[in-house]
Subunit: 158 residues, 2 copies
Amino acid sequence: MISTPALPPESSTEAKRFEAFLRAKKLKLTRERKAILAAIARKAPHFDAENRVSRATVYRTLNLLVQCGLVQKNSLGSSHACYEASHGREPHDHMICLQCGKVFDFYRTDLAALQNDLCQDRVFAPLYHNLQIFGLCADCITGADEKFIREQVARINT
Amino acid sequence: MISTPALPPESSTEAKRFEAFLRAKKLKLTRERKAILAAIARKAPHFDAENRVSRATVYRTLNLLVQCGLVQKNSLGSSHACYEASHGREPHDHMICLQCGKVFDFYRTDLAALQNDLCQDRVFAPLYHNLQIFGLCADCITGADEKFIREQVARINT
DNA sequence: TTTTTTGCAAATCGTTTGCACGCTG
DNA sequence: CAGCGTGCAAACGATTTGCAAAAAA
């Protein structure tokens, strides 16, 4: 076993932010909340290490972390969502193939600027965005029904 | 009962597209599929009029319509989704408040151009996009913990 | 007639909630 | 000590799936 090392600067930053948030809302800093935050800070895949914390608590805490900006929750009206730690997240977006479902990441630094630009004339403080481009990937375009698909693409893109 | 009128031009366009798609995939044009397509074409809210078609069939057909481009399915890796008819859809995007969950629509004509631009150097044929901007709405910014929230926004937006 | 579809009901899966007990401030 | 938070198990709601009957090609 390794003696507990000093926490990396990022996680203590995150912890401080979370604590400040809880204080502002008069909520309590429990062992479970610390554990979940720690798991996120160390980028634990799917919170495996936090099996001792009940699922209900994980969800309740995730909601707090979302409100506090430490976790991003992506959804759109649906009851399902996709949680992702904000910390160290390269702001990337997705291209999703409608035919096979494959997801491609892409990075564009200018999208953050666009985001701020979009919000400049309205009272809305943007924290992060999520851009999904749906279409057809190379494999699916060259598939059997290529002709049909190309026609489809042409029609919609005009 | 009313004698069947000629279908409006849009729906017949959609119907043709769907038929071509089914033919290309050697699938059958059933009464249920027609009914669901018709409901979408007439912008029926939530397919109320299609109660006679089983839920399973609605979902199965929606998947076909998505592949064929007549319906947009918005999700992000999650198993839940948000279906929306492509037909006559103003290409709009969403700002979503993390605090209260309210959704604001916004329209930007230049986003379609951006979408094509993003895909120009890779083999991916974009059909449509979905941009979500998460942040805090006016009401929530002016709420009790304004100070904290502003700090948060400032931190993330840099 | 052959193959695809449908409807039903059961199975999933992520998420939420009510409640009694436990812990933080 | 007063609340807030937790675990559990049941409730939920959207979506999927297996299977036998029904419909399209």
